[in-house]
């Protein structure tokens, strides 16, 4: 059991890191998006190893499903081409160096953390999360729904195709 858990963790972790790297490295946005699906799924797997089963399912549904579909739609809508390769400038080199610095500082921070015994009071099942949401966190839950509604309206307003006369008005 113990071994199986370790294997699962490492597989998922490696998969996540590789997919993430592919997202960054790929010059075709569609390929990046597909790699991102992989990364999301790997993170969902990591949730599973943490026993957060409900969250894992949501991760697959929302991220790998809805969000990715959105990304793909947009990519296709914009009809993007491969990004041309150009030589790294100062900004790029600085960005790379900074990212490495961030990596090492974060890892050293993580390694400094003390592992506490895993004594979770409750599990991560849907029932238990529902309990939490409908008792202590009712207000944040409702606010989340409101946020989604507002975002939906906002998206429609922002992305809507303007009528020509409206366009003129705005430019005036």
């Amino acid at each position: 059991m113990e071994v199986l858990e370790r294997v699962a963790f490492y597989v998922m972790a490696v998969l996540a890191v590789i997919s993430a790297l592919l997202v960054v490295v790929n010059r075709n946005p569609v390929a990046s998006a597909m790699s991102l699906v992989g990364a999301f799924l790997a993170v969902a797997g990591l949730y599973l190893t943490l026993n957060a089963t409900f969250l894992s399912a949501i991760q697959v549904l929302v991220y790998a499903g809805a969000i990715m579909v959105l990304f793909l739609f947009v990519i296709m809508l914009l009809n993007l081409e491969r990004e041309p390769f150009d030589l790294p400038g100062i900004g790029r080199i600085a960005g790379f160096g900074l990212s490495v610095a961030l990596l090492f500082s974060l890892i050293s921070l993580a390694l400094g953390a003390v592992a506490r015994p895993e004594t979770s009071a409750r599990g991560g099942s849907g029932a238990e999360i529902g309990d939490v949401f409908f008792s202590d966190y009712l207000f944040p839950f409702e606010m989340a729904s409101l946020l989604l509604l507002v975002a939906m309206v906002g998206v429609i307003v922002v992305a809507r195709r303007r009528k020509p006369e409206e366009e003129e008005e705005e430019q005036a």
Binding site: A94, L98, L102, S105, L109
Partner: protein, 642 residues
Amino acid sequence: MEENLLELIILIPFASVVVQYFLHRVLPARLAGLIACGAVLVPFLLTVVVGRGIGAAAPQVPAVTATIASWLTGGGLEVAFGLRLDPLSCAWTLVVTGIGFLIHVYSLGYMHHDPGFKRFFIYMNLFIGSMLALVLGDSLPLLFLGWEGVGLCSYLLIGFWFEDMNNARAGQKAFVVNRIGDLGFLLAMLMIFQTFGTLDIAAVTNGLSAGHAQGTFALGDARITLIALLLFVGACGKSAQLPLFVWLPDAMAGPTPVSALIHAATMVTAGIYMVARFSVFFALAPVASAVVAIVGALTAFVSATIALRQRDIKKVLAYSTCSQLGYMFLGLGVGAYGAAVFHVVTHAFFKALLFLGAGSVIHALSHEQNAMKMGGLKPHLPRTHWTFFVGCFALAGIFPFAGFFSKDKILGEALLGHGWLFPLVGVLGLITALMTAFYTFRLYRLVFTGPERLDAHAKKHLHESPATMTVPLVILALLSIGGGALSLPAFAHFDILGDYLRPIFAPALAVAGEAAHHAVNVEVALMLVSLAVVIGGAWWAWNRFARGPGDQLPLPQGGLPFLLENKWFVDEIYAIFVVGPMRGTALLAGFFDRYVIDGIVNGLARLCDLCGAVVRLLQNGAVHTYALLFIAGAVYLVCSLL
């Protein structure tokens, strides 16, 4: 009842101003003029009604008081729009409204063709209102308000024909010179408040008398002397005394009725009023009184000398006004308060008469003012001529015209005064009387007799003035003849004005000691001497200018006439010692402002601009730059947590 009437006296002119101002588009010119005249006549009648009641009252200074509204309240200060009609202010109010009414009527004719007719009457009413506030105000701030109000009206009316830059400049000059005096008045006011803790005039003067009686303020107290001198500085500005008299001759740029009303009969006597009102201060400060007497005598003398050589008919009268005001101050300075006020009254009669007569001449000659280009007007302007003639006699001070009595009272008190100073200024006054007679009849000769020296332009509309102008002249002429009856010499025991004013000056005279009564023969002898001097001067001028001036009778040349011709170079001295340094300072200040102050400000702005330009490089709009900095910050935070 009387209180309400008193309030009406001052409110009517202001109400008239408001009505005329807001209805000036609808009101026909004639109606506006009639309203303006009525707004002066009614207060005059009301003053007669109210003033009659205050003559015979208790030992206290008889007065009617009224409070219109509260004005300044705060801390220990309580000043109301309070009015106070006592014999002194009553005398002034009667002169202001009485002469004012006649001049208003006269203006109906004089300003008839002027496009600014309505504006003129608004200013005139405003002046009357302000002057009444000055005279009737029971507190120093209200007096000061009126003081500034009449100054404003004077400025507005001097520059009435402001299209001509010279007129506007003359108005400005009057305003600025008056400011110098006002500063003195303001300082005096503050010192009075500091000393007495109140600004109520009656309270202040009573407080001073009481303080003297209790020994708080000794004779010659330094503080009182300083207050008196500061008050006199204010009076000098308003009443055109040395060295602040330069504005008055220039003020003749205004319409002639204005010169008559403001710059001869009423406003310029505000300084006399103030000194008379605060006579206790001057009585307690012999030094200040001496200064008043000397300045008055010198002004009288210097102005008279200048008047000897003036060509402009109005300028002669203007310098004569300065000179006569000097007489009044001389009287105040030697303690002849009643005589000074008497002279104010008679001077108002005959100087208004002379100015209006001059205006009538100017009107007839289509605005010709140079006396050298007149002459022989006697048959053309019969009424103007004889009234002017009367005015000349009164101004010269020939028995039995009004000027004789008032001038003689002052001279008598000065010449018979104690010490060496009073007789000295008296002699100066006597010499002035000689010159006054000379220049008066010189003017008369030049204008009305001798050969005609008129321009074709002046000749074109030569006509006697309409009744609106000549009737006031006649009335004023009658007053100039009979005005002396108000206050006959002491031995005649007939002194209406003096008896009326006695309670006002009683405290001052109690401090300084009542003037000694002189023997009748001394007074009569003095009168005869001054009369002889005056008649001599008149006779001299009469003969000398019998055939007009100019080539028939060349004017004397030389140093002194040159000096007089140029008015003692007072304007030039001002230009060098006052205007020049001011200009220099202004230039320096302007330079400092433009290059130092503005330099600092602009430098700061440029510095900000520079900083902005540097910081702007960061704000390049590229998301990557922001993200780079952002993540650098994150790295720093994480590292600091390590």
